[in-house]
């Protein structure tokens, strides 16, 4: 009896082993069967809104590609892994995606700290990784297999600094940043550099860490410094609360933020306290360009919610990857890497995507105003040498206006 059991166990183990082996072998670099792409993101942690939106966007893009006949006759399949928003888990799940699922490319992560933890694994295995929305410059510096389809923090920090000096006429600013986040620390430095070089003054710099519950100490010190604006480059979980406590201390200066604010939960946490604040972001749902409006309505009918910027970037990252596979004609690592690096003027939902030699996307940013639990389009700011010359200072058409400045002409796909 015991022997029968043992042999049965042995056979089962062998069988499972073979089954896994065959699945892996079929998808890796082969020319038939589905193209397996790995997606990793925070689906259950503190920034889970980011991971969920990005995943929705990427899956919608994959479905569209498959409905249109796939890439070179092959369908795309996305394998999803949850890293719970923790860097060490991100590295683990990426290793699993590469070794076990034999993915040909990776999409992820949103938070720069998590991308930074996972990128070395992708680089080592020579599996191209496209981050939809990690904006810290260090992410793509990990190696030549790491790309992104969003702008980077030096630009994002500069956008807010320009907006604060030109549009809000701010002279004195305070910064409240997340000490443990690469994203937040990066934006803090770039905003500071840009704001001071355009004649402004940073009079108070305070920090917090994710999970903090009370910010009144920092905010009281900032209030005493008497500032025009407060730059808070954090994630929505803390920012909603900071906005609330700012108003409870009677601070009138508006808060400025980045794309880390963009999540539906922000409104539940901050509510009316967020009125009059501004953020820089990747795109605006108000944009009348047909490509964007088609994306917004498709997304809304599929998920019953308006797509935030992370969904749009998730969508674009999948489309950029598909375009590169099509041009490369293969899913083999080195050739695919070359093809992604050569991406030129790809018409994405979040603007034209051109991958520069540093493997970053060069794109304009929008500034949105927060009012009554909604983002309202304010202005578009272009990087130097792209789009309508210099920052559009005259385009400040008030919060209620939904007529955006001219966007780069984007063709429908």
């Amino acid at each position: 009896m015991k022997r029968t059991l043992l042999s049965l166990l042995l056979i089962t183990t062998l069988f499972i082993g073979f089954a896994c082996e065959r699945r892996g072998g079929g998808s890796n670099g082969g020319s038939t069967g589905p193209i397996v792409v790995g997606y990793y993101g925070d689906l259950s942690g503190r920034t889970s809104s980011f991971g969920q939106s990005t995943k929705n966007g990427a899956e919608m893009a994959a479905d569209e590609i498959n409905k249109a006949g796939g890439i070179n006759g092959r369908t795309v399949q996305i394998v999803v892994e949850d890293d719970q928003g923790e860097p060490n888990k991100a590295a683990t799940v990426v290793t699993k995606l590469i070794n076990q699922d034999k993915v040909i490319a990776l999409l992820g992560e949103v938070a720069s700290s998590n991308s930074l933890a996972a990128a070395p694994k992708a680089q080592e295995a020579k599996v191209p990784m496209i981050s939809p929305s990690s904006t810290n410059p260090a992410v793509t510096q990990v190696g030549d297999y790491i790309f992104r389809v969003c702008f980077i923090d030096p630009f994002q920090g500069e956008v807010m600094a320009k907006f604060a000096t030109n549009n809000l006429k701010a002279k004195r600013a305070a910064i409240l940043y997340d000490f443990n986040s690469d994203y937040s620390r990066g934006l803090y430095q770039f905003f500071k550099r840009s704001f001071t070089s355009s004649g402004g003054q940073i009079v108070s710099e305070r920090s917090y860490t994710q999970g903090d519950r009370d910010f009144s100490g920092q905010l009281t010190a900032i209030r005493a410094a008497n500032v025009d604006v407060i730059y808070v480059p954090g994630y929505y979980g803390e920012v909603g609360v900071i906005a609330n406590q700012t108003k409870q201390l009677g601070i009138k200066a508006p808060l400025l933020g980045g794309d880390g604010w963009d999540a539906p939960q922000l409104w539940q946490l901050g509510g009316a306290a967020l009125n009059g604040d501004y953020i820089s972001n990747h795109y605006s749902v108000d944009d009348p360009s047909p490509a964007i409006q088609k994306f917004v309505s498709d997304y809304k009918s599929r998920y019953n919610i308006l797509p935030d910027a992370l969904a749009a970037l998730g969508y674009d990252s999948m489309k950029v990857l598909a375009d590169a596979i099509k041009r490369a004609g293969t899913t083999e690592g080195t050739k695919l890497r070359e093809a992604i690096a050569q991406t030129q003027k790809f018409p994405g939902v979040t603007g034209q995507i051109t991958i520069d030699p540093e493997r970053n996307a060069v794109k304009p940013a929008v500034v949105l105003k927060l009012q009554d639990s909604k983002f309202h389009y304010e202005t578009t700011i272009y990087p130097e040498g792209l789009g309508p010359a210099a920052p559009a200072t005259s385009a400040n058409s008030g919060p209620q206006s939904s007529a955006p400045a001219p966007q780069q002409p984007a063709k429908t796909q």
Partner: protein, 256 residues
């Protein structure tokens, strides 16, 4: 000067919440010489119970009555959870070395946290704003110093709860029994005190106070998640040791 006064107000406000949590630590430590690591998680359970009571009863608008219902409901549930933990986790191992109970406490803490993460996810949730703090302006004192309605409520509720606790411990028969057990468990047993019941009651009261702390913090910071108890629990642990005096009012001052 106004900055100083403002930071004093901020400090009293945060300190009031830590004091409520620290009292639970102290009571359990006083009776069992056990650092109850699960106490921070009871605080989290309190906040989430409040959240689920509010959502299931549809209490989301600003109202003092809703806050009172949610506060009392959360305190009762947390008290029961505290008693269950004591009965099924700590009591069976109480006869072994103190280290065993301590490790059990760490285990219970991990169990509660991961149970919540597994059941409802680690994503933060927004606690209903019963005091209208999102839209209300603070009361100005002088200069820039201001105090908000939320801060006043947190402060007053904490003081009331501490007075009630003081009364229970020093003015009632149960309180006398609690002090007797903390003085010497075996002697107390010989004097005819039902020590198991008293220990259970201590956990119930301590847990209820932590839950009150959880609901009150959520009024100040509506962002609640299953891991919120870890850091707060550790922070509340430190005033418990720095407070030298055994009397509560003095301890409260030190905590602040």
């Amino acid at each position: 000067m106004d900055t100083f006064v403002q930071q004093l107000i901020n400090g009293l406000n945060v300190g009031a919440i830590y004091a409520l949590i620290a009292l639970g630590y102290t009571m359990v430590y006083g009776i069992l010489r056990l650092i109850n690591f699960a106490h921070g998680d009871i605080y989290m359970v309190g906040a989430f119970t409040g959240f689920f009571i509010a959502v299931s009863l549809g209490l989301t608008g600003p109202s003092f009555i809703s806050l009172t219902i949610v506060l009392i409901g959360a305190m009762i549930v947390a008290a029961i959870v505290g008693m269950i933990i004591e009965r099924f986790a700590y009591r069976p191992v109480r006869k072994y070395s103190r280290m065993t109970t301590l490790i059990m406490a760490i285990g219970v803490s991990l169990l509660i946290e991961n149970l919540f993460v597994a059941r409802i996810g680690a994503a933060p949730r927004a606690f209903p704003d019963f005091l209208g703090s999102q839209s209300q302006l603070p009361y100005h004192l002088f200069g820039n110093a201001a105090i908000s309605k939320t801060q006043i409520v947190i402060f007053l509720v904490s003081i009331v709860l501490m007075i009630v606790l003081q009364w229970i411990v020093f003015r009632t028969k149960v309180g006398t029994a609690m002090r007797a057990v903390s003085f010497n468990l075996n002697s107390a047993k010989l004097m005819g005190i039902n020590t198991d019941a008293i220990i259970s009651l201590t956990f119930a009261i301590g847990s209820a106070l932590a839950a009150a702390g959880g609901v009150l913090t959520a009024q100040y910071n509506p962002n609640i998640d299953p891991l919120m108890g870890i850091l707060t629990g550790l922070k509340a642990l430190s005033p418990r040791y720095s407070a030298a005096s055994e009397t509560f009012p003095v301890r409260y001052l030190v905590v602040c």
